[in-house]
């Protein structure tokens, strides 16, 4: 069930198949991301892969002493490029792997282009998704919805991504989907169709309890992606933006050259692996410890190494020190930047109000706090908009809603027209009308008792009160209490036992907060393994983009986007 390992195994198998000698890895834009998320350059270099090329790159030279490993999505352009490549081969041998199902006719076209007999292997290796963490994958697709239905080109693409996850994990699941979302149903049917069509591929060893695929829609919980985050991974994504596990730090004032882009991968970075899910305060302490540890190991310029034993100690520590210095400077920079942003944008205050909006039920206090923050000039435009959105979602039907006056406040603050329009779009996207679950409902007994006992607990951390809806849904699913009326099965059969292997897919994008919730469920629920996936992984910014594209406001952009990817399959 480990998605990272699944992709890694595919890639190392490809490399292994090609035997010894210098190799080049030929990829397309998407497979480049797929590979780079699971492998670091030095790891892959050790496997004798020295060059990474794009199949569509024009600057490639003839290098007949290299073997080419092609890892490509089975798109029309890729096949066309590959045909051209085979007509005039630049490398000695070609090992071709498609990341998904490819048609017979395309293979035939390739075979006919291979006049020089350079192709040694043509296979399908289903690594057609971005494996962010062992239990988290993304398809890096944005703007999947058009109104309340699929953007036509992206339904097949999403289906491909999701089926490739199933194939990579060797799961032939039962499917449940969120009834309130037509998109969820369509995707479920589309996946089911592939499973039926490629029944030979999906013929895996039967397990006692069949795996389960749960398809959900982001619009059911529009609140989670709007909240500021305080755990390391989620916070980095929210404030700096994690793209294929990389952060772009080039906008950080006074950043050094080698830190302009840093990789945060739990696979290779012990500190990150240990702190991924810790909150900001804990990371602060840990980073301090790391620094102190580092200071101890760091050879001081003035420190004379007086005895041989001193020198020996120095030499013995040196490699460790070297390795450490990279990690230290990276995390110190990242955490430093995070805390700069936190204080600059008053994120503690903002987050407190956000959490109050999301978890408490006191309209008058909440509206006062929102208004107060809107009047604070230090609160950024994005934060102001997100507060209003949270208010709008939370107190959508409240009798004494102050939304109009808050909108007026935004206007006074100088928030752009585009952003203000987004508030309406957000309510259209994730408002009460479209929700299938009780995200927020003052009359609901669960919500009240929940609220109530939160109070009892004394809330250890004001900033992390919120728990995503997904957590509760999964909890019910694991206990066999998830209502069929809300999440029906696709097809006649249903699961009798408690599910064991669960794949949850969120149309419209998952979040790192949900990834953390799934991680915790995995750690605490015996006998259950859950993998979370989404069309993408959102922070507030990308979520707003997604909503804009979905709502009418994104009409023009969508047309343009669709034009940009005419051959997306």
């Amino acid at each position: 069930m480990n998605v990272t390992l699944a992709v890694k195994q595919y890639i190392s198998k490809m490399i292994e198949n090609s035997g010894p000698g210098m190799k080049v890895l030929l990829m397309d834009k998407e497979t480049t991301s797929i590979v780079s998320v699971v492998y670091t350059q030095s790891e892959i270099l050790q496997k004798e892969v020295y060059l990474f090329e794009r199949i569509d790159s024009q600057s490639r030279d003839n290098m007949k002493h290299l073997k080419a490993i092609c890892f490509l999505r089975p798109t029309k352009e890729n096949v066309e490029n590959l045909i051209q490549e085979l007509r005039r081969p630049k490398y000695s041998v070609y090992f071709i792997y498609f990341s998904n199902v490819i048609s017979k006719s395309e293979i035939k076209a390739l075979a006919e282009a291979d006049e020089q007999e350079v192709v040694a292997e043509v296979q399908e290796f289903y690594g057609d998704f971005i494996a962010v963490n062992p239990h988290l994958f993304s398809l890096n697709l944005s703007g999947v919805a058009r109104g309340r239905s699929w953007e036509p080109t992206l339904l097949p693409r999403t289906t491909q991504g999701l089926t490739s996850v199933l194939l990579a994990l060797k799961k032939c699941p039962m499917i449940r989907y969120q009834l309130s979302s037509d998109m969820a149903k369509r995707l479920g049917e589309s996946v089911k169709q592939i499973i039926t069509k490629e029944y030979e591929l999906f013929d895996f060893r039967k397990t006692e309890v069949p795996p389960l695929l749960l398809i959900m829609d982001r619009s059911d919980d529009a609140i989670t992606p709007l909240l500021n985050q305080w755990t390391y991974q989620a916070m980095v994504h929210e404030l700096l933006g994690l793209n294929n596990n990389r952060i772009d730090l080039s906008r950080v004032p006074g950043i050094s050259k080698e830190l302009k882009e840093v990789v945060l991968s739990a696979e290779n970075d012990e500190f990150y692996a240990n702190n991924l899910y810790l909150n900001f305060g804990e990371i602060g302490t840990n980073i301090k410890n790391l620094m102190e540890d580092f200071q101890k190991k760091k050879p001081k310029e003035q420190q004379k190494l007086e005895s041989i034993s001193d020198m020996k100690a120095f030499v013995d520590n040196y490699p460790q020190f070297k390795k450490m210095s990279g990690t230290v400077s990276k995390h110190v920079t990242v955490v430093g930047e995070l805390s700069r942003l936190v204080s600059e944008r008053h994120l503690m205050e903002v987050s407190e109000v956000e959490q109050e909006l999301a978890c408490q039920n006191d309209h008058s206090s909440a509206s006062q706090n929102v208004r107060r923050l809107l009047q604070n000039p230090r609160v950024s435009e994005l934060d102001a908009v997100r507060l209003v959105m949270l208010y709008a979602l939370r107190y959508e039907r409240h009798s004494s809603s102050i939304l109009p006056s808050l909108m007026e406040e935004l206007n006074r603050k100088g928030v752009s027209e585009r952003h203000r329009r987004m508030v309406t779009s957000m309510v259209e996207y994730g408002g009460k009308r479209v929700r299938g679950s009780d995200l927020i409902n003052p009359q609901d007994a669960v919500a009240i008792t929940k609220q109530f006992f939160k109070g009892l607990k004394g809330v250890e951390n004001v900033y992390t009160q919120h728990a995503p809806l997904l957590q509760e849904t999964l909890d019910q699913l694991i206990k066999g209490r998830l209502k069929d009326s809300q999440f029906p099965y696709l097809g006649p059969s249903s699961l009798r036992d408690r599910p064991q292997d669960i794949i949850v897919f969120v149309i419209g994008g998952a979040t790192y907060e949900e990834a953390l919730a799934v991680y915790n469920l995995n750690r605490t629920m015996p006998g259950v393994r859950i993998v979370l996936g989404g069309t993408t992984i959102h922070n507030t910014k990308s979520f707003l983009e997604e909503v804009t594209l979905t709502a009418g406001a994104g009409q023009a952009e969508r047309v343009q986007r669709a034009g940009g990817h005419p051959n997306r399959r």
Binding site: P20, L51, A273
Partner: protein, 771 residues
């Protein structure tokens, strides 16, 4: 919410009426039934309820505090989940192979393609099989037409490639290879040399099998000429002019498509036997890496065992293996640098991708060296090894005695007989407990066995008494136990005292030694400074010289190999007493595994301490090149030789190469930053190594033939051992400098160089002390 459920379990109290309900669902039901009519916005009530609820919670916790942890976080309730990072390994995901299908379709295509190519080649051969220069155009044309049927002009009104209409100005041209028609613009020419090259294979094959098919097919010829005549009658004028202006003496005209096919064919022919330099070098690089992968774990196993004081392996063998592994690292470094600089000096510069490939190979090699070399643990020095062995022996003995005692005890208890209270002090006491007539017991001692192993008589005593004590206890002789215990205490006290005084004496001696060393150090530093000044003058030209020498070496691909051979030749006669010195040089191409690793080391160690003047020169490959150590000022190595002689004259036994190398390296390191100096490789490899080994030379008296090593332990020489350690450290630090330089951390380089210098100073100090 997941945590909620468990929270609620703490009592399932209804928040409004505080009624205790048994389960979550009951609570929900209750709430819906009882309180659905209540105020929709319960916030008002909530506030007052918080107070009550807090009280309720307190009560709850007091009541069943033991079965409910207070933390409330749901993690404390559930165990047994698995961190996704710890999920058990899984098999490879699903795959599907299309190769069979692919091959089926390719085979059909390939057959077709091969036939096409062969056809072209055969035609080309026919077209070039006669002397084109001396036959008139008309005849050529006739032959050409006989090779392939020309397409009729009237059938092709437009150029099939560019679509232009044919007319008087834009005339038709025929491809001589396939007979098709194209316009002048779309026409290509096969130059005769290329044609000969392409057909050479077929011609040879044919001359072997007989040249039957060399004559043009007669049947086809008739047909073709018929067509030709018809064509001639239609546009005879144009044909004549075209013949006049386009007599193809040295080329054969053909269409784009045929040209394309021919070019592909040619490319294939060229590539078939061509192995680029990078591949050759790379293969050697991989070979070295494989060797390291094979040898390094073996070495680490040895080093671990030796460091633990075990005697499974020989210290010298391990030392040899270490040398071997390090040699491979240097080779890897040298080869990868060579790859990095391939084609750098050529014009035009290689394709950017080629350069990138070279850089990546180099980078990988660096990573490899870094990872593996830095993990190479050092060996204990001889002295330390002896200590370790001793320690281990003691430990084992202790364990042995204990085991024996335990087994004795078991035996005793089995017998379980009352024993007489005679004090079993007799050293000759029988090993097994003996039954006396009185039916008493006689404690037995192990002294017979142990006395050989435990030197200290006190320890023996203690041991004895302990064993008696245990036996007495087993026999339940309480009075004796008390007495024995008293005895034991006294003995132990005495032993402790003895040990303390011993330790004090030892530390005093150490302190004395240290102060002595300090003095030495002071003196040597002074001398060193003087020398450094002296050397500074010769430094610059020295490194310049190195540069040129390396340049010349670099010209030949196997330059290093060359150097090695030369070196061997020269060295052998001089060091006849030890033929092993042949191996004094880093064997760049060395792949013979039979030569035991220790040979390398031997080579370095062989220099007899007596005749410095001559022998030190035999170590220096540079001097060997002009074989006469005459101080010829035109000799680029003059400076070095001179320096060395000076040092020799100084009565200094060892020429320390590191100082000099340092300087050179630093300079070049900077150069490398910009252009990647190709000569650095050479420097480290060819210059550095022989010296390094030479510096492994140990002072006179202690001949360091590792084979003799065992015998020498009789007269251990502290300084020799210190040197070993120092040399290891120097090796390590050099590796770090190299690494730091590579990554451009100049500050570190400096720091490390400082360390290195210090170490070297210490090394020299040690040497002079033994002198």
């Amino acid at each position: 919410n997941a945590s909620l459920d468990r929270e609620v379990k703490e009592g399932f109290l209804c928040p409004l009426c505080l009624k205790d309900l048994q389960s979550f669902y009951q609570l929900q039901e209750h709430y819906e039934e009882e309180h659905s009519g209540d105020d929709r916005h319960v916030r008002g009530q909530l506030k007052s309820l918080v107070q009550k609820a807090k009280k309720a919670k307190d009560k709850l916790l007091k009541r069943d505090g033991e079965d409910k942890p207070e933390t409330g976080s749901y993690e404390s309730f559930y165990y047994g989940g698995v961190d996704p990072y710890m999920w058990e390994p899984q098999e490879l995901g699903a795959t599907r192979n299309h190769m069979d299908f692919f091959k089926k379709h390719r085979a059909a295509r390939i057959d077709h393609y091969v036939i096409e190519v062969n056809k072209l080649i055969i035609r080309l051969e026919k077209l070039t099989s006669f002397d084109r220069m001396n036959i008139d155009a008309g005849k050529i044309r006739a032959i050409e037409k006989s090779v392939v049927a020309w397409v009729s002009d009237t059938d092709v009104p437009f150029c099939p490639d560019c679509g232009n209409k044919f007319n008087l100005r834009n005339r038709r041209h025929h491809c001589r290879l396939c007979g098709s028609i194209m316009c002048r613009k779309c026409m290509e020419f096969v130059p005769l040399p290329l044609a000969y090259k392409l057909t050479s294979g077929t011609r040879e094959a044919r001359s072997v099998t007989g040249s039957q098919s060399q004559s043009p097919p007669t049947g086809g010829g008739g047909n073709v000429s018929g067509m030709g005549s018809r064509r001639g009658s239609i546009s005879s004028l144009s044909s004549v002019t075209s013949m006049l202006e386009e007599k193809d003496d040295e080329r054969i005209r053909c269409c784009l498509h045929c040209m394309d096919t021919l070019m592909k064919r040619q490319q294939k022919l060229e590539e078939k036997d061509h192995v680029p330099d990078i591949v050759k070098l790379y293969e050697r690089l991989r070979l070295c890496m494989d060797k390291v992968d094979e040898r390094a774990p073996e070495y680490i196993r040895m080093a671990e065992s030796l460091n633990a004081g075990e005697t499974t392996y020989n210290l010298d063998t391990a030392g040899g293996l270490r040398m071997e592994v390090q040699k491979y690292y240097e080779l890897i470094d040298a080869l990868s640098k060579k790859i990095l600089t391939l084609g750098m000096k050529e014009e035009p510069q290689p394709h950017q991708k080629t350069l990138q490939l070279q850089r990546m190979v180099r980078y990988t090699a660096t990573l490899f060296v870094q990872e593996k070399l830095l993990g190479l643990m050092s060996l204990p020095t001889k002295d330390k090894y002896e200590d370790l062995k001793e320690k281990r022996k003691q430990e084992q003995e202790k364990r042995l005695t204990q085991e024996r005692l335990v087994s004795r005890l078991r035996q005793d208890s089995e017998k379980n007989r009352p024993a007489a209270s005679t004090n079993g002090e007799a050293p000759q006491a029988p090993r097994a407990p003996r039954m006396t007539k009185a039916g008493g017991w006689l404690p037995s001692s192990d002294t017979l066995h142990t006395c050989g192993e435990l030197e200290d008589p006190l320890l023996q005593q203690i041991d004895n008494i302990q064993s008696f004590l245990r036996q007495a206890k087993a026999a339940q002789r309480h009075d004796e136990v008390a007495m024995l215990e008293e005895n034991l205490r006294q003995l132990q006290d005495e032993y402790d005292q003895q040990q303390t005084s011993l330790a004090i004496a030892l530390s005093q001696r150490l302190a004395q030694e240290e102060s002595l060393q300090q003095d030495e150090l002071q003196r040597l530093e002074d001398r060193e400074r003087g020398e450094r000044e002296h050397r500074a003058q010769s430094q610059a030209p020295g490194s310049q010289a190195t540069y040129t020498w390396q340049g010349s070496l670099n010209l030949t691909d196997t330059g290093s190999l060359h150097g090695e051979e030369e070196g061997e030749e020269e060295v052998t006669p001089k060091a006849e007493s030890s033929p092993l010195s042949m191996r004094a040089f880093p064997a760049l191409t060395d792949q013979d595994e039979e030569s035991p690793p220790r040979l390398r080391r031997l080579g370095g160690d062989v220099t007899p301490p007596g005749g410095e003047g001559q022998n030190s020169s035999s170590l220096n490959p540079f001097e060997e090149e002009d074989s006469t150590p005459v101080e010829d000022p035109s000799n680029p190595f003059f400076e070095e030789i001179q320096k060395e002689h000076k040092e020799v004259a100084n009565g200094k036994k060892e020429y320390n190469p590191f100082e000099q190398e340092e300087g050179g390296e630093e300079e070049q390191g900077q150069a490398e930053g910009a252009t990647g100096n190709p000569f650095e490789v050479k420097e480290e490899n060819n210059e550095g190594n022989p010296f390094k080994e030479a510096s492994g030379c140990t002072p006179p008296g202690a001949s360091t033939n590792p084979f003799e090593g065992e015998d020498e332990e009789a007269m251990p020489d502290v300084d020799v051992i210190e040197e070993d350690l120092l040399l290891q450290q120097i090796d390590n630090i050099r590796a770090y400098i190299f690494d730091a330089k590579l990554n451009g951390r100049l500050d570190e380089v400096e720091l490390l160089s400082e360390n290195l210098r210090e170490l070297q100073r210490t090394l020299q100090e040690q040497k002079s002390k033994t002198h």
